[in-house]
Amino acid sequence: MHISEGILSAPVLIGGAVIAAGGIGIGVKKLDYDRIPQVAVLSSAFFVASLVHVPIGPSSVHLILNGLLGLLLGWTAFPAIVIALFLQAVLFQFGGLTTLGVNTVTMALPAVFCYLVFRKGVMSNERWVSMVSSFLCGAGAVFVAGTLVALALMSTGKSFSAAAKVIVVAHIPVMAIEGIITTLCVRFLKKVKPEVLEVTHG
């Protein structure tokens, strides 16, 4: 879902960079000393996830894990994702340096969004509510990310609905997988140490 260099126009790139800078600012402010390792580990997970190619579906797609990052990191998902995206751009040539801002926004904003929307549901004591919320958090973050990418591509003259359809359809398997991964992570954390989720939300 990385947008390559040389596709988007300057206003979109600058707009993306400004929004990303804002998100990173909030994230860094909220990042306290004790959470640094967590952010680093999840940043690495995000960095590696893009290498996991999902061979199902009409197009070439990979895992994103932004829903999981959002759920466990909240606003600090922004710095975690921007670092991972920067390294992906430099080392893998995924995306690009000029599109770093836009790509950060398209992946980190849905992470924060899903964190804010589904946090309560995930924390619920009702097992089913928690599981469904976790699944929706993982899958929804990918869905929103796809929609944002389509929105960014709209500036290239493509119609939003067509681009969004292509992206969302291609990512249906990814959404399912990430929903399951997020659900399993939450269930595991709740079983082993339920405070983890609350602590990370502090």
Binding site: M1, H2, I3, S4, E5, G6, I7, L8, L31, Y33, D34, I36, P37, Q38, V39, A40, V41, L42, S43, S44, A45, F47, V48, A49, S50, L51, V52, H53, P55, S59, S60, V61, H62, L63, L72, I83, A84, L87, Q88, L91, F92, Q93, F94, V149, A152, L153, A163, V166, I167, A170, I181, C185, F188, L189, V192, K193, E195, V196, V199, T200
Partner: protein, 227 residues
């Protein structure tokens, strides 16, 4: 596999607890929660790594080679999937569009050389993916169309029939060039294939993770000094 993950979890836990001890900030409860999380996330990374070697990647690759007066291109995602119906545009050195077309089901697209300039070939796959490859003008230079060569050779025989030695060397040169051309084509093609990258290797992946932890260390250093 399972054992190695467990070991990794333990390793992370120990390394983390020691870092906390030195920083002298960890409470007992905080230490357990964080280390658990670290362990899980570490396992996720390991799990992902297992699947990503050989690395699958997400990027569009395009490579091109010249045969006679035609440029052949092939485009694919680095997961190996061909780019079907991708938009190919060919620009000259000044950025003027010369050729446009779409790739077939095998990700291939070929076109006649429109001009002898540097040809910048750009592939636009769906979802904002883009790749490009430049064919240098001198790569095109050595391979002028065979028909015209023959015509020139014929002309040469007609006009310069007075000096037979001259003609012979000229003709020989043409013949040799043609023969070399056909012999070198597969080599040129395989060089083009060699240039293609198969996506990031383990070095890049591990290096990237190393960078992230390096940044973590830096943050610890600066945040720690403030307090």
């Amino acid at each position: 596999m399972v054992r190695s993950l467990k070991e990794n979890v333990d390793l992370l836990r120990y390394s983390h607890s020691s870092s906390l001890r030195t920083s002298g900030k960890g409470t007992e409860a905080g230490y357990f929660t964080r280390s658990r999380l670290m362990g899980i996330a570490g396992s996720i990374i390991l799990f992902l790594l297992c699947f990503s070697v050989p690395a699958f990647a997400h990027r569009v690759y395009l490579y091109a080679w010249v045969e006679g007066n035609t440029v052949y291109t092939e485009s694919y995602f680095s997961g190996g999937m061909k780019v079907k119906n991708g938009l190919i545009e060919v620009f000259d050195a000044a950025g003027k569009k010369l050729v446009e077309g779409r790739t077939n089901d095998k990700g291939e697209f070929s076109f006649r050389i429109p001009e002898k300039t540097d040809l910048r070939i750009v592939i636009n796959a769906s979802m904002g993916h883009r790749g490009e490859y430049t064919v240098k003008a001198d790569e095109l230079g050595g391979t002028s169309p065979p028909e015209t060569e023959k015509e020139q050779a014929l002309k040469a025989t007609k006009t310069e029939s007075r000096s037979p030695v001259q003609i012979d060397t000229d003709q020989i040169r043409k013949i040799v060039e043609e023969a070399l051309d056909s012999r070198l084509k597969p080599i040129a093609q395989s060089i083009a294939r060699l240039q293609e990258k198969k996506g990031p290797g383990l070095t890049e992946v591990v290096g990237g993770i190393g960078y992230i932890f390096g940044i973590m260390g830096l943050l610890f250093y600066f945040k720690g000094r403030k307090k």
